[in-house]
Point group: C2
Chain length 317, copies 2
């Protein structure tokens, strides 16, 4: 672990300027009713209002815009069926390059349409890890496209870091900052920006009990991969990446876990009181604040609402 | 109709300062996907994020804060089971005076709890117009409370006008501004602010076909009361008030009507694309923009999202 390899404050500043024309500067919302429930002063940074409905637009835009000019026209490629796929397709279309997305044949239609809607070229594969990686390798070989992974990549982490940078510009006196953790792109970026911009903000990852590899890795001091994750928070099923783990071990205060019942309760509170549409993963940090009141009581607490891409006909309440 | 009785620009400015500590300055959201669908440049002012979840917080706060000191301690009273009741209860509690709300015995539990949650004192009556008005008269006589009607009152209209004032401060170049119309508090306030602050912004009311008294009144040039309204937009069932009608006739460009199917479609677009929780009434202006594309094509168009108090277990999609 060598901190000199982490993106610097200047790197994140540059990323922020680079992606500014391609993303929204998202607003921060408050609810006195939720403050009362949580017994602290909460601020919600609404990345569910971000382009493609998730913070992933930041990292994808940054990674695409940093590609060397010589290989840029070959486009980009990734394997994903979630928000990263949509974000990469959108970023690629914004600069006019091709984007190849490897997806399992079994991917839900709504996710396929989202990527197609942003102009992505979908290549279907069998729904196994081997097929996915093999297909991606073939695509990269054939097209010369650059592989942009969803979280374990410094340009991605640097891009996601711009979210906490904006947050701390708008609200410099946060005692705590919480982000959900799946692969760890958002959490690592949040921890980096906070370490540069604030001396007293503690950064917490919030994770579902049914996909708690980050919690276990953090406790063990080594990466433990997730096997058979099971949680309603379908954006947080992946295991923490290598680079992400390094940043988390160095700069994150703690990983807090919550169960699905707590996630659903917090999700309902966000819909009913904050009046915004969020995906279940989004509700994990608020659930953590509710379940660990002693950590946050009376404090100024920031929460990143990570995304709002949800099937409204399947709300869990 | 004498325009000298309308609240002046100075009155609205004063109202804006008066209520500032009690309300949120709500953000304006955009969605390029919705712009693409509507073929114009849309801005959404999010009063669903307002205190008590609706623009009604503005008028109620203004009316309460303008009460003469001598009668202020007697409190306020109204008959309503909707957002105005909650807004008045909240405004009263903020200045520490009693608030009496006359409600039919048949009011839904969720609305009763909302008013109780804001500290309102509920007096139940039989579910008839006569019982409601008689009960209110008794309450006012007994307590000395001031009756604050939901829309047909200059202090209420003045308060609601602060919303469009903020909108035009943030977006001075709107070609059109749309608000839903029920009793007409928001629409009249919007038209007033726009008439003072912009020379080229046309103000439209948007109304459900099943409660189209404002449309018919506007066409006829005289108030026609609504009999048996029937629409999913349950915040817009009331008839246009007298003062509201005067302002609408003088300053509104047109009233546009849409059917419930169009309202539900637009509501879904707001949830899916703008990622915010709105009540059906809120979706009426966007439905009007979709159905009258020729009026708005290529223009800068502002829409006031009026409120977000909705039973999430009964979403119509």
């Amino acid at each position: 672990m060598d901190i000199v390899h982490f993106p610097s404050l200047e790197d994140i500043n540059q990323a922020s300027k680079r992606i500014a024309p391609y993303i929204h500067r998202t607003p921060i919302l408050k609810s006195s009713a939720i403050d009362h429930m949580a017994q602290c002063n909460l601020y919600f940074k609404c990345e569910n209002f971000q382009k493609v409905g998730a913070f992933k637009a930041r990292g994808a835009a940054n990674a695409v815009l940093k590609l060397p000019k010589a290989i840029l026209p070959n486009g980009v490629a990734t394997h994903s069926s979630g928000n990263h796929a949509a974000a990469l397709a959108k970023a690629a279309s914004q600069v006019g390059i091709p984007c190849h997305i490897v997806m399992p044949r079994t991917a839900p239609k709504v996710k396929i349409s989202a990527v197609e809607g942003y102009g992505g070229n979908i290549i279907f594969c069998e729904p196994t890890l081997e097929a996915r990686e093999l297909t991606l390798q073939e695509v990269v070989k054939e097209t010369g496209a650059s592989f942009i992974p969803p979280y374990d990549h410094w340009d991605i982490i640097e891009g996601q870091a711009t979210c906490a940078m904006e947050f701390l510009e708008d609200r410099p006196h946060l005692d705590a900052l919480l982000a959900p953790v799946g692969g760890g792109g958002l959490l690592a970026g949040t921890a980096l920006s906070s370490s540069y911009l604030s001396t007293n903000t503690k950064v917490y990852g919030a994770e579902p009990e049914g996909a708690d590899d980050a919690y276990r890795s953090f406790q063990a001091g080594k990466r433990i991969l997730m096997v058979e994750p099971k949680t309603i928070a379908d954006g947080l099923l992946t295991s923490l990446g290598e680079r992400n783990f390094m940043v988390v071990m160095e700069l994150v205060e703690d990983i807090l876990t919550v169960n699905d019942e707590e996630i659903i309760d917090a999700m309902r509170v966000i819909y009913e009181r904050l009046k915004v549409v969020v995906e279940p993963s989004c509700a994990v940090p608020l659930a953590a604040v509710f379940s660990r009141k002693e950590l946050f009581e009376g404090k100024e607490v920031g929460i990143i609402l990570s995304g709002g891409n949800v099937d409204l006909s399947k709300l869990p309440f």
